[in-house]
């Protein structure tokens, strides 16, 4: 391996110039030690991201949201009076934001869709029903904490497909977008077996990390990929 550990880490963090990054990618194709080191770093990042991701989806405690609600009923003694007066005309209504979010997500999940999660299509296991719907539309950054299907990580795999890892009651796995459908690549037992939960999250994150071309998509990247219909441009 001709790259020092700091360079490998910088590669995984997206901190290298394009030229050096390409050299590493090329060399990793034949250097198994380098490829393993990259996978190890990616697995750590994926593991940490997956671990902390649910916090972003938690409902923000009212005491925090209330600090930023600007209207007459809120104690603005801590706030500069001038800015409070300026802001009063376009106050934020925390409840309204939460309500519209829930409304939007409910529509997105289409609860009346038939409940078969997978189907065999031409000899291939593909996502169907609510699972396909969730993979198509649901964003990890906005999904409710009790969503029937929970999207974990979205990423581009080494063959250039978009893939998404998910957890649901019946099945956990990774679906990859191919020809307008989500091919199920990895599966693990779902949430019905409580003991598996801790292990499967880690296994899934590690499996996803091994498939990734680069880091998992962030919230903006995930939204952009969804809006583009999960096809590369």
């Amino acid at each position: 391996m001709s790259f020092d550990p700091a360079t490998v880490a910088a590669f995984v963090d997206g901190e290298l110039d394009d030229l050096t990054a390409r050299r590493i990618e090329r060399e990793a194709a034949t250097d198994t030690a380098l490829a393993a080191e990259i996978a190890r770093h990616r697995a750590l990042k994926a593991r940490l991201k997956a671990h902390y991701a649910p916090i972003v989806e938690e409902a923000v405690p009212e005491r925090l949201g209330a600090l930023l609600v600007v209207d007459d009923e809120v104690d603005t003694s801590l706030v500069d009076r001038r800015s409070a007066a300026r802001a009063r005309f376009s106050g934020i209504h925390w409840g309204a934001i939460a309500a519209s979010l829930i409304f939007g997500l409910t529509i997105g999940l289409r609860p009346w869709t038939p409940a078969a999660d997978v189907a065999i299509d031409d000899g291939t296991l593909v996502a169907a029903g609510p699972l396909a719907e969730a993979l198509d539309t649901q964003l990890a950054s906005t999904q409710p904490s009790d969503a029937a299907v929970r999207i974990m990580l979205s990423f581009e795999d080494k063959t250039g497909r978009y893939c998404r890892s998910f957890e649901s009651r019946a099945i956990d796995g990774i679906g990859c977008r191919e020809q307008d459908r989500w091919q199920i690549e990895r599966t693990l037992p779902g949430q019905t077996r409580g003991d598996y939960r801790q292990a499967s999250s880690g296994e899934l994150a590690a499996a996803a990390a091994a498939m990734m071309k680069r880091d998992a998509l962030d919230a903006g990247g995930e939204r952009a990929a969804r809006d583009a219909g999960w096809v590369q441009h």
Partner: protein, 162 residues
């Protein structure tokens, strides 16, 4: 977008960062509350058009450091952070790592504060080294060396396959 609206959008991520720093939900929300109050008081110092997220992360992190220092002066001991620097022999460390396998919270808790905050900013929040350096008000080289040490420790505690 207005100041308060941007802050509202930022809150979920800020809570995650605070949770990483403090490692406890209620402490994290107390920290977020203090940070929001500080931000509202000093909003004149924020220049519109610059990144509000970096500014808020810096406020949050500085409040946390103040809190830790105050706790230190009060004699509140935090042995867990010292554990990493006083390696009690390789055997003991291996046993500890074995017990932690799979426990991200436990592994993060064993990092010194300055490594944990860099790990949160770069590995979890996805900030570039330069951005993390600006938030922490340290040189980029300090970020990369703390990150390298933090990474190695996390990989050690979580197992090779991480």
């Amino acid at each position: 977008m207005r100041f308060e609206e941007e802050l509202v959008e930022l809150l979920p991520r800020l809570r995650r960062f605070a949770r990483g720093l403090t490692r406890h939900q209620s402490d994290a929300d107390d920290l977020c509350q203090a940070a929001i109050e500080r931000a509202l008081r000093s909003r004149d110092q924020w220049q519109s058009g610059t990144r509000l997220d970096s500014w808020m992360y810096r406020i949050t992190r500085n409040l946390w450091i103040d809190e830790r220092r105050a706790a230190g002066r009060r004699g509140v001991h935090t042995p867990i952070d010292d554990a990493v620097t006083q390696v009690a022999g390789e055997g003991a460390a291996e046993v500890e790592a074995g017990a932690l396998r799979g426990d991200v919270d436990g592994a993060m808790a064993r990092l010194p504060d300055e490594q944990r905050e860099v790990a949160m900013l770069v590995l979890v929040e996805g900030y570039a080294y330069r951005e993390a350096a600006e938030i922490l008000e340290v040189p980029v080289g300090t970020v990369t060396s703390r990150l390298a040490r933090g990474r190695e420790a996390l990989m050690f505690y979580l197992g090779e396959a991480a």
